[in-house]
């Protein structure tokens, strides 16, 4: 069943044609990766879905069959789409607890409590820093908090923008194993945008390759399992 569906979406960002006629869909319970080098338009894609960037007219973005175009970002979030933005964007002056709390505005207080407890169980590093100001966390902990916020919101779809950015390999491993655990135990639907292809491919059912704003390749993960092809993707030869 199609949970999220994107058809013919184009968007400009700062004068650049960041996305050109992109088609993409995510089914319920799936993990989908969008790979591509920097500047390929990956972040813009997520920003279009969460309503932060307005696409050009003529395209379709729908969730559960309902159009998201022109809907205010906070209303999209309340429909059950959590966007973990690039660079994590935790609220630096709010405590860890408070960061999680404000992420759960769409659910009632009781549910928020259980959800928060679940997050602390997953990320024990955070549990010891509940009252600490989030800005004082390390990069890895901030990423965990950012993912934690998405989990607290009790959403149906989590979109993660480059969870590995700027993090040491050990931490990246930790993040990805946790993501895998979450998916196995909860059956969440995930849309990951990544540059770090090797890890995200191991997690994914399907993959899209975005290059210069266009989807150049899509299909099941086996399609580009070969390392050589990934290398080509980044150190691309043909134009």
């Amino acid at each position: 069943m199609k949970l999220l569906s994107i058809e013919n979406i184009s968007a400009t960002y700062g004068g650049i044609h960041a996305l050109r006629a992109v088609n993409l869909h995510v089914d319920s319970g799936e993990v989908v990766s969008v790979l591509g080098p920097n500047g390929a338009g990956k972040s813009t894609l997520l920003r279009v879905i969460s309503g932060l960037v307005k696409p050009e007219p003529g395209g379709v973005v729908s969730f559960h069959g309902r159009s998201l175009i022109g809907v205010e970002p906070y209303k999209i979030a309340r429909q059950g789409i959590a966007h973990v933005p690039e660079g994590r964007q935790i609220f630096p002056d709010l405590s860890v607890d408070e960061n999680l709390e404000v992420a759960g505005v769409r659910i009632d207080a009781g549910k928020r409590k259980t959800k928060t407890a679940e997050v602390y169980e997953l990320f024990t590093e955070l549990a010891t820093r509940k009252k600490q100001i989030a800005g004082s966390l390390s990069g890895g902990e901030q990423q965990m908090l950012a993912i934690g916020r998405a989990l607290v919101s009790d959403c149906e779809l989590i979109m993660i923008d480059e969870p590995s950015m700027g993090l040491a390999p050990v931490i990246v491993m930790r993040i990805f194993t946790t993501l895998r655990d979450i998916m196995e135990s909860k059956g969440l639907t995930l849309l990951i945008v990544e540059q770090n292809a090797r890890l995200s491919l191991q997690l994914s059912d399907r993959v899209y390759v975005l290059s210069q704003g266009e989807i150049t390749l899509d299909g099941p993960v086996d399609l580009i399992k070969e390392d050589e092809e990934m290398r080509e993707l980044y150190f691309a030869t043909e134009k």
Binding site: G39, Q212, R231, K239
Partner: protein
Amino acid sequence: MQVLLETKGLTKQFGGIIANKNINLTVNKGTTTGLIGPNGSGKTTLINQVSGELPATSGRTFFKGEDITGYSANKIARSGIGRTFQRIRLFHRLTVVENVLVARRHFFSANVLDIVLNTRRNRREEREQLEHAMTLLQRLGIESEAGKLPTALPYGKRRALEIARALALEPELLLLDEPAAGMAKEEYADIVRIMERLKEQGITMLLVEHTMEFIRRVVDWVYVLNFGEVISQGVFGDVEQDENVIKAYLGGDETL
């Protein structure tokens, strides 16, 4: 070969986050040097440190043998380092040719009185510099846009204008931050042509770029940054085979 730019132990720290650590980089005169690396690896920070936009936390920068560490951005520009920006920055209230003329500021000698009274000296200088600016626009193939505002230009031509403006300083070193980013195919071809022509003219360049094909075509020597450190350098053919570099881009061999 003559060293034009050299950084020694350049470091930049934002609060608790270290963006750049102990960067030693050399750019030889007449060459094109590339800076590559994954997102957030500190490439733009390095460019901004060299251009004086960001003061370095520690380390020194030498240009033509002179220590330019701590110089203001405008002084560095005048000493012969021109630059473009990741997200194109043009003066949107000035016309295309006026954008170029801004960077010709220091080729004028008229004083305030000359200007207010619009003396012959002022008129002559304006005419000369206008001609110079038009020649530059011509070199980049945008002379027919001279009277327009930059917002009227397509994206590729805006980039060309930004390069023209940097060239107006008559710089010895050109810093380019992702010159080909966001280009459509035809625009991309144009920008590659421009770069190749600049190379022929012997202009020294230091550039950040993500499009590897672009790096392959125009760059003589490449530095790879990851986590703010230089993890590899060499000619592109070698660097792209370097396991460390591949790991930085694609991730390690770990399995989940």
